[in-house]
Point group: C2
Chain length 177, copies 2
DNA sequence: CTACGATATGGAGGACCACCCCACTTTGCA
DNA sequence: TGCAAAGTGGGGTGGTCCTCCATATCGTAG
């Protein structure tokens, strides 16, 4: 939010756009050099603006994570707290699989990470109060599970279907007996 | 098993040993150059003997995977088929967490992958016959789940404990309702 | 509207990597 | 013991990430 010069802002936007495209094609460990090249920017510019790869991933996925957070907000009004939580976790998984690299970015302790944890906390709290979820399970556990599955199926031929199935299996484990 | 010259065999063994050490320290994406250096061998030798990183990982972990397969064999005689399967999956997870990089190697379609799938198949079949596991679940699902969790917790501060907990949660989902 | 300091830029270069080529050395069989 | 076949590793190629710094651009104060 610091005042940025107009050209700096423009370049930052081009970098994020290019990064989105390249990461979608090649995954989260795509070449930063290639991203800079495709953004029409020197590599030094990219490195100054985003000192670590993590910072770039964060910028790329921030708004998509915001969408998931908004969805969590909506689901807080749903009648069935347990189902609301499951629905949301599935949505997180689907997003992570659809956007290559997002799951990697969710694992890193970043701003995105915190945003999504806060969003999920509410849903989990409600589900727990309704005794639809075992009490010792935390939102961090759940998100790690979702990220892990997405990451593991990322370079699989039939990724999305597989991921959803695995997620369904794993999530059955969180209900109270 | 083709006849190898004595020096070639000796160098191959040194490379595998060095790779084991370096991978344990730095993870599955350790530098091959560093491995060659530590084995006292030119990098060309390493690349000729192991044309892909996967081949080297396989050689490093083959015997550890064999241990897991043997354990599966033992557990086939256990009285409780469901518990036997869970015990084994937990052992697989523990091994994957203890040996950095093993989980990555398990995910790649390799000889190790096939070995461990064959080993698990027997345990799963028994558990399924005893109706301790939902029928649509495959051994590939289970191993992917275990690998994913290990991989996800690999660079976590409290990895092992976390991984075991997540695994316990996920595995609760495979029991019939 | 101009001049000037703060800000931003990107090419060049250093350190590292995977992987390959090929002149040389070692091996083990006849 | 001779010698062809097998094995070796230094050095090269082209890629990566990241940093320095001379240069170009911006936005404002005058």
């Amino acid at each position: 939010m610091t005042r940025m010069r107009a050209d700096a802002r423009r370049n930052a936007e081009r970098i994020v756009a290019a990064a989105g495209a390249v990461i979608a094609e090649q995954g989260a460990d795509a070449s930063l050099e290639e991203i800079a090249r495709r953004a029409g920017v020197g590599s030094a510019t990219l490195h100054r603006r985003f000192p670590a790869r993590r910072a770039l991933l964060e910028a790329v996925f921030r708004d998509r994570v915001a969408v998931l957070c908004a969805r969590a907000e909506e689901l807080l009004d749903s009648a069935d707290p347990g189902e609301a939580l499951f629905t949301w976790l599935r949505a997180v998984g689907a997003h992570a699989v659809a956007n290559r690299g997002l799951s990697a970015s969710l694992m890193l302790g970043s701003e995105c990470h915190d945003m999504i944890i806060n969003a999920g906390e509410g849903l989990l709290g409600r589900a727990r109060a309704a005794e639809e979820v075992r009490p010792e399970i935390t939102i961090v556990h759940l998100l790690k599970l979702v990220s892990a599955i997405s990451l593991a199926t990322e370079q699989d031929p039939d990724g999305p279907a597989e991921a959803d199935h695995l997620l369904a299996i794993a999530l059955d484990g969180i209900r109270p007996r």
